[in-house]
Symmetry: C2
């Protein structure tokens, strides 16, 4: 199954997300970027499918705490040592962290070489690998340095789902839930009734999520409008991840908490109903996702919103569900209402 | 005078190069990126023209040897500390080094914020500030890490030419000569007959160079074809700059030598005539530009070509004048002919 990411303003950079068993591909020069965990499980399989006249491998440390410029320099170093050029391919083989960094490295290697995504986590398959957001974290926050840079293709091979630890699996489900809450009530009902641990259901949910993501990115590649809706839950999640040094929660887990917090704010603003907010929370809990967080200092938490990229000219942009399947982007939420919502999560 | 850089594949990113006294502009949040030399001479003037509700200044060390990722981190740090966002403006105020780094910093700051160029050197006015090539050097070579990222505008104010040291002035002339040799025989004749130390002649030459550059970039923003011609002399120059640790020559000086070396190769390939090659050399020497270089080890020099970005799939791409005002891009030059040319420059 192929889903096209059809960039309206940038048709030359349009590409396909291919769902199904990875088909053989051959390159002249390529560098596989991966981490030791994925490499141990799947590198032999990948190399049976992806071949090159000259192939090198950059193995980077596993974990969000290594998503920084030092690791980018490591990837670039491997590429320079192996004399890759602008027509070469970097192959992102791993989860969101590997994908974001490989894409960023490709975007700045000799002012831009090619890259493809072969995501191995559910989260990366349904969200991170599609749409060309690349980057790294720094001491000021998450994904604050990076580029919009599109892959030449995304290849979602369901075989990798079999080896996912259950926490990683659930983290991916959180982003699937995000797509459903904001864009598709019918899809949300499907998720309530289906068990995604069943592979057929999972593939349906992956395809639907990729379709939603691709259609949003096609309309608004650089996030001037509707693409911001994909950040539902993320404004809160980024602060949580920063407060826990990117080690306490998987990204999808932080997003699960963030959606519950965003819904609390939504209820205070008279948007999503208590009943629908409970449906979202129940669905997340069905996959053992965390839905609570102990805010230590609500003022400090609030202040951290302002380092988010989405915070333009000093006003925070919250993505708020009006109902299941409908969103609103709210730019001027009074601080006291946000504080009320945060206070409900005080430790 | 306004010259449009009209990007065919990317019309949203088209912009103007404005030649003439800088007109007042006001921004919400902006960061001026400059160096101590330019700052001492001209910052007060710039601040009388460019104002912002919130204005900060990143002063970076002066010189090509600081054109690296550490300096990029310094610029980004100032932007984060001052909480610039995606709608903010970085203002590149200096020569090519400041412009290339400011543009690169803007391209990766929160996945891309705005920037404008206010070039203060002749070289930057006629070449570097136009066209969106940004980046830094590293231990593998020059401009090997960077992005194609267009400014929102380029503002060429001739007042800065008055304070240029004569070496800096001549370095700019080298790039003007480059445009003429490759694209415009009539312009070359003008340069032979006019003294660019005369301001009226200089402004004519600047405008003509910007026109040529803008038209080339408009056709081929990302250097898949004709834009490579602007690298005439640069393939050699980059090796010279690398061998002299970016401190022996100004970029334009290395390009002057590089054009003479490229012409020597061109003659060996039966392209440019001896007479026309002498005209180019004479014109460069009229501005006291260097035209000789002592190659220590021709094999080592040759080997360094392969780290150049323009070296695709192991074949070096030489830009060779056929005659004054005409070029050829030659991809498969036999090594022995290149070595013959290099041997003429042995120390």
């Amino acid at each position: 199954m192929n889903i096209k990411v059809d960039l309206k303003k940038n048709i030359d950079d349009s590409y396909d997300v291919v769902i199904g068993e990875l088909q053989p591909q051959h390159f002249k020069k390529a560098c596989i970027v991966t981490n030791p965990t994925v490499s141990a499980l799947h590198l032999e399989y990948l190399k049976s499918k992806i071949t090159a006249d000259e192939l090198c491998i950059a193995t980077i440390p596993d974990g969000e705490e290594y998503k920084n410029m030092e690791t980018i320099e490591q990837i670039l170093g491997v590429c320079f040592e192996n004399r890759l050029d602008r027509s070469s391919y970097l192959i992102a083989f791993g989860g969101g962290v590997v994908g974001d960094m490989t894409g960023f490295a490709a975007s700045i290697y000799e002012r831009g070489c090619n890259f493809i995504q072969v995501p191995t986590t559910l989260l990366s398959c349904v969200d991170a690998s599609v749409g060309g957001k690349t980057g790294v974290n720094n001491k000021y926050g998450k994904n604050l340095v990076g580029a919009f840079y599109q892959p030449k293709g995304v290849f979602v091979d369901p075989r990798f789902f079999d080896t996912l630890p259950s926490r990683e699996f659930a983290a991916g489900v959180a982003e699937i839930v995000k797509m459903a809450v904001t864009f598709d009530a019918e899809f949300f009902s499907f998720l309530e009734n289906a068990d995604l641990r069943d592979k057929e259901n999972l593939l349906k949910a992956v395809a639907k999520s990729v379709e939603i993501k691709a259609s949003v990115v096609a309309q608004d590649e650089k996030e001037h409008g509707v693409r911001a809706v994909l950040n539902y839950g993320h404004t809160f999640a980024h602060v949580i991840e920063s407060e826990t040094n990117y080690t306490g929660y998987l990204h999808g887990e932080a997003v699960a908490i963030g959606m519950v917090m965003a819904n609390t704010l939504a209820m205070k603003l008279g948007k999503i109903s208590e009943k629908d907010a409970a449906r979202v929370k129940n669905l997340l809990e069905k996959y053992n996702l965390p839905t609570a967080y102990g805010v230590k200092d609500a003022e400090a938490f609030y202040d951290k919103f302002f380092l988010d990229k989405k915070t333009k000219e000093g006003s925070i942009k919250f993505i708020i569900p009006e109902s299941i399947g409908g969103f609103e982007i709210i730019k001027d939420t009074p601080k006291n209402i946000v504080m009320e919502a945060l206070n409900e999560f005080l430790a």
